[in-house]
Symmetry: none
DNA sequence: AGAATATGAGTGGTCAGACCACTTTCAAAA
DNA sequence: TTTTGAAAGTGGTCTGACCACTCATATTCT
């Protein structure tokens, strides 16, 4: 199972170490060579893990100085999210609910915002919906982007990334209906209906995933 | 300037290459060895870039087979996301909105849940509301806990810490009314009213903070 | 003594080469 | 024709070696 993606294990190990050693934001963490030896992995493999942590905003590397825990507060958010999701104490239900929570709020925000200049957006949106390559995640991600809340977008992104893509699989015609209904309601700024349709889709998706055997 | 973070340049190069070569989702991209030679970089450096792309969900690697463009197609959006994640520029407004978003969702969840065994909770809740030591934050935190979504609670907790405690200061009688109204509506499982009252309070609080000069 | 300079250790950044585990392919053997 | 297995290609990993940079220390100069 976990033959590949070792660097993800290392990510977890590093995180655990940080917690045990009680390293605080801004503090320096052991050098790459130290970490590699301590964890019994090659330095290049360890660096791949560090790149991941850096990309997520958890750490910050300074050439010639070392690697530091990111000092902006944001790092805690990522840590909590990754901990909650990658680790054993995670609750899939909570992750699902929280993601849905952000999605619903996004729809609400879109409906409340101005729509003048967004008419074109809906047209192109509907066009892409016809495309075979259009995926579930594209639909939702577009909504999240349109909501305009970048922090919420980031949280949503992390949740979908780490919780074994809930939007995998092929799109059925039934779902297209849900999407279309949601879009239509949004265009008419009918938030309640839009959210209702979206939640119905989410519910439908959830059940299908369970019957198919949910991954990860 | 760009002496370090070379792997970020490679990320961009690969992205450009994908665009130029018109590689479509699901297609295979050149092997690591090929790419490394073509771009005149070491394979390990190139792999660090690939890890980043993988983490962002742009590519997918399969051992023994190769590296493939992920099933996303809306690369523009992914680019937006990647730049956003790479350079973490969040605004206070987003933090405030996101926190409120979780709070509203919590109230909604509480109203939907069973209330049989929660009667006692409301009594003790109201009692503590009388207490002078009862703070704004206690009120909201209690709601978050009652929602039952632990992930949402954690996120909320972090956001509260980030935005330089938005609940600092003394509680005015006017606020007590907001709280009481919110509580009352929740008891009656009237989610709409409860949320309306809560948002009104939040709005009021926001304005007061602005007039007082908000701290980070 | 005080200040400017040189040195060396330590760090992240990069590279090349070597295995390993795995998948696919296709030619040889049944 | 079917089966088998050897080879090629791929991502995953490790090692050891440089390089560029930072910083603390020792050294030298004024």
């Amino acid at each position: 199972m976990n033959q590949s993606k070792r660097y993800l294990d290392i990510v977890r190990d590093i995180r655990d170490m940080i917690r045990q050693e009680k390293i605080k934001p801004g503090d320096r963490i052991p050098s790459e060579r130290e970490l590699a030896e301590k964890m019994q992995v090659g330095r290049s493999t360890l660096r791949e893990a560090l790149r991941s942590l850096e990309l997520l905003g958890l750490i910050e590397t300074r050439r010639g100085e070392g690697t530091f825990l990111s000092d902006y507060r944001n790092h805690k958010l990522v840590e909590v999210l990754s901990t909650f999701i990658l680790q054993d104490n995670r609750s899939h239900e909570d992750v699902w609910e929280t993601r849905l929570l952000h999605e619903v709020a996004a729809i609400q925000a879109i409906c409340k915002s101005e729509t003048e200049s967004q008419m074109k957006i809906w047209d192109s949106f509907r066009l892409r919906l016809q495309d075979e390559s259009f995926q579930r995640e594209d639909f939702v991600r577009e909504l999240m982007v349109l909501s305009g809340n970048r922090l919420s977008l980031k949280i949503w992104f992390l949740l979908t990334q780490y919780s074994g893509n809930p939007y995998a699989g092929t799109v059925s015609p039934e779902e297209i209906d849900f999407m279309n209904n949601t879009l239509l309601a949004i265009e008419q700024q009918d938030a309640d209906t839009a959210i209702q349709e979206f939640q119905a889709w989410s519910e439908w998706l959830k059940k299908e995933r369970i019957s198919n055997g949910n991954n990860t």
